[in-house]
Symmetry: C2
Subunit: 206 residues, 2 copies
DNA sequence: GGTATTATCTTGACACTGCAAAGTTACACG
DNA sequence: CGTGTAACTTTGCAGTGTCAAGATAATACC
């Protein structure tokens, strides 16, 4: 009978250390970035010994792998949220998806950098690989919806250019904004900024 | 009279340690990436003591700052090379510049990540700031050439969208390719790949 | 030419890091 | 009640970046 969260007494067995560590790790990531990320810092946050994560995640990269995977889940969710509020028109759906991508990166710059600009997560891990792949698949199906709409449902060549164009546009905006470049865009009020991002996204697929 | 490069005997004073360290650091970066970068590894490569860099660069981030600055110089140069071989037509010039941007990133993925995906270089440093700014300025003037060509020479608003679109498109392609994503594009032969990149770039500015 | 100064590089020490091995506690199950 | 196992802690180690102090070579000055 684990006491969920006994106010004062911390039992030897934490009960839910795994997710507590992930939360602490995300906080550490936010404050120090991936380059200042310290496993010992995470364990201090969680109030456990520095070797506690080993049993759940193996090593530090294992913890970061789990974090990245959770990041992809949230990225997908954010994109879906933006799509749901947008017209069902395939082109508007892609624009909304791109805006969601950029918004996610702006709100979680360190996490985004972990997911796309770091070698530390193990992208061979099945969990991470699957979730990242499914994010990519959603993009492909969105793009193919537009292509099919035009009456040319070929999956090769031409469509892959559209996929690359759409992804690159969203990713470029996201990465530059998360890095604090492109401040002419980044400092704009959210609604105006998102409209401009949608405009730029709309150019990617003619 | 420093003996340039006495084959066997290494003089106590290296003679040109500063640039030797930068070369060693770039090699270290290529092999281990920014996240595995070790200052002591650099000094071992250069055959000097672990504290040798201090006098020239201060700390490790100082060395990385110098490396990033040199990276921007090369990036600018690569873009110019591609532009010189392209038609003088403003739109073609932008496309060529974008291709140069992506080629640089593909050929120097670790350096590119240092320049755009790392907090370690000191972007407050005047040298780095100026060279990075001048790279940005070249883009702005290229875009304004197109805009002026269309007879609407306004520097605000609309043009800044074009700047953001062009930069984001090139940067997105560059970052995704350097990270090994987008392999449908990345594995193509260079000439075909570059043509597709140019196509995608051309969409960014209508 | 000889001496003092200065720039350059080395040595040694420190706190911090991630990881592995061994020890300790709590819990499940007979 | 006793035993085994999972969860966590303690201890130790090699590696890291930075700082302070020392050693050496090049240069400036007389």
């Amino acid at each position: 009978m684990k006491d969920e969260k006994s106010p004062a007494g911390r039992s030897y067995h934490h009960g839910d250390l795994s997710s507590a560590l992930m939360d602490a790790a995300e906080e550490e990531l936010k404050q120090h970035g991936i380059e200042g990320f310290s496993l010992r810092g995470v364990t201090k946050r969680a109030g456990v010994s520095h070797a506690a994560p080993a049993h759940h995640f193996g090593d530090a990269n294992g913890l970061l792998t789990a974090l990245a995977a959770r990041g992809f889940e949230r990225l997908i969710q954010t994109q879906r949220d933006f799509r749901r509020r947008a017209p069902s028109n395939p082109r508007k759906q892609i624009e909304a998806s791109g805006v969601g991508y950029v918004v996610f990166a702006s709100e979680n710059p360190a996490l985004f950098r972990l997911m796309f600009g770091s070698d530390r997560p193990d992208f061979g891990s099945v969990h991470l690989q699957r979730i990242a792949e499914s994010a990519f698949d959603e993009l492909v199906s969105l793009v193919s919806a537009v292509t099919n709409d035009r009456g040319s449902p070929k999956r090769d060549g031409a469509m892959m250019i559209d996929v690359a164009a759409a992804w690159a546009t969203a990713h470029g905006l996201a990465d530059l904004l998360a890095a604090g470049r492109l401040n002419t865009l980044g400092t704009l009020p959210a609604n105006i900024r998102n409209r401009r991002i949608a405009t730029i996204m709309s150019r990617a697929i003619p």
